[in-house]
Symmetry: C2
């Protein structure tokens, strides 16, 4: 079932983008290119959110592909939209080492003979519009769903919450980064939960369960699991961003330090006597590999690494405990338990 439906999601996205590209061809080559780049942006990921929608739906006995595929597509395109707009906010022209939509339109503008300032305007326009188009289709996929009224309204409320809370988290992430003092660990975790865990884990799991007609109690437990496991994932990502293996993660292990990213690691370090040794490295734009290694040494020595690891494990374990109820079908519980373990036990 899960494989069939995952293929259904891929097929539906391919169909959607093919139709959009055809339609875009009436509006000039730049708009066709924008849709091409948007399709590429939506196809690079691991499709975690569709997998969660499908797991919850199948886990509660759902069997109708025509219902579950659009819901899975909705959460995937929501994710695509958020990543694209997040990159605009962070002024990134690349994601995971590859030019993103803004980067591609920046190059496209320069190839058309614009100056670099005008190329930035093309880049921002293309990325903002592409995000708007992906966000619109995320809404449309649910709005068109051939489910009964009550189910559709409940799914729309889940999508609404995902958008509302993620925007709050994204805004907090930006305003927090201007804080002159390290955040508390609690502030870091709240931002992770709002910015990512709600739309990536809670929303997809609850949507699948609502669609399958699961009980309110089961939907509540899945939501709690989703927020906890989402935080465990993000805490681990932040650990790998400093202590990981760049070859495995595909990400520089100096970038987060160089940016001064506010993570649980840094929040813990801020409460220790080592803070004055660590602070000078954070946000240092020309941080060398050697300096990054010194910062890592201090983060290990002051217990920040061990604390963040323990925190991630605690969240993963609490997530599993949230499912410890007979109302969660055994097979779903097993696969979500495995997911919670893999959230913290991984090298990439």
């Amino acid at each position: 079932m899960l494989d069939t439906v995952a293929a259904g999601v891929a097929t539906e996205l391919t169909r959607f983008f093919a139709a959009a590209r055809l339609r875009a061809s009436d509006y000039g080559e730049h708009y066709v290119a924008l849709w091409d780049f948007l399709e590429q942006a939506s196809s690079g990921g691991k499709r975690v959110r569709p997998a969660l929608v499908l797991a919850a739906y199948a886990g509660f006995g759902g069997r109708d592909q025509t219902l579950v595929v659009p819901v899975a597509v909705s959460f995937e395109l929501l994710h695509t939209a958020f990543l694209i707009h997040d990159d605009v906010i962070d002024r990134d022209l690349a994601r995971r080492g590859q030019a993103n939509i803004a980067g591609r339109f920046n190059d496209r503008a320069l190839a058309h003979g614009t100056d670099s300032d005008q190329a930035q305007v093309w880049a921002a326009a293309a990325a903002i519009l592409a995000g708007d188009l992906a966000l619109s289709e995320a809404h449309r996929a649910l709005a068109k769903l051939p489910a009964d009224v009550d189910t559709r309204l409940r799914l729309l409320d889940l999508l609404d919450r995902a958008v509302f809370v993620s925007a709050a988290g994204e805004l907090a992430d930006v305003t927090n980064s201007s804080a002159r003092h390290p955040l508390t660990v609690a502030e870091v975790i709240t931002t992770l939960e709002n910015k990512t865990a709600v739309y990536s884990f809670e929303g997809p799991l609850q949507a699948g369960a609502v669609l399958a007609g699961a009980s309110a109690e089961a939907i509540g437990l899945l939501g709690r699991y989703g927020r906890l496991v989402g935080v465990a994932f993000q805490l681990t990502d932040d650990l790998l961003g400093v202590f990981g293996d760049a070859v495995e993660t595909g990400k520089s292990v100096s970038a987060d330090l160089r940016e001064g990213k506010q993570t649980a690691l840094i929040a813990h370090a801020g409460t220790t006597e080592s803070w004055s040794l660590i602070a000078p490295y954070l946000g240092k734009v020309d941080l060398s590999d050697e300096e990054a290694e010194q910062a890592r040494e201090h983060l290990r020595a002051c217990g920040a690494k061990a604390t963040a690891e323990r925190l991630a494990s605690d969240y993963s374990r609490s997530a599993v405990e949230a499912l410890d109820s007979a109302i969660i079908p055994a097979e779903l519980r097993a696969s979500l338990t495995e997911l919670a373990h893999s959230a913290v036990n991984r090298s990439r």
Copy 2:
């Protein structure tokens, strides 16, 4: 009927923003401020799009406030979202002389002690997210509509077209502004139609008519009228932007020249022998009032002003002609005829 429903739209928007603000208070003061600024952004305008939805709905005999108000709200919030994202793309911190969302968050960041670069990040984040939230509610208002399935799907298709075509027009507006030669008049008009006329006139009129159960033929005529009258409005706006009275329009009459905005005026001038006299003034960032007046003189002398005025009148007249059919109810035809006249006969 129309006044009652316009009041209904205002009430519904007030209710929506009050609920959002309350919800936002769980996520910190910056998020509450973002919702406050979004509400202000949605309340400054003339509510043209709701008025068109209501006129078409009532014109075809529609009488159900619970159906027409959400549709009108949807198009108004779509407009709000587009204006906000358009300002981000154009890097504007003000609209009509008042700080916009980006401008307000820029000030807010500086008041919180950030540097000017970080303030720009706050500004972009707030405006991108506010646009996403308005766009999301535009979709949600239609998705929740308690209409029959067929009507809801047709309305969703109109909204989808509005988003798709407006994005194409916005992108073309940006890429056109890098053209090293003046555009053709046809290119200018296509961009006006796509960027503004479809979502502002065609979409709202057709949505009101669909909701009232008008015939496919009538819906087709309203769409044609909407595109034509929308272009007439925009051509007139561009004329007022150069030849208007700044006191009446509330807009500088040098700004469009200083920006080098690609209008029908400029497109026509580009085909005349006066072009070499006019071109140096366009996009001149330090254009003086005296230079602006010289540019206006040349635009008059080469016939650009008269041509653009004639073009606007032609579009207005063609819009009225599109309604010359017994299938458009007389009262609706009268009010839309008046609207078409006011599109071109105005000083602000």
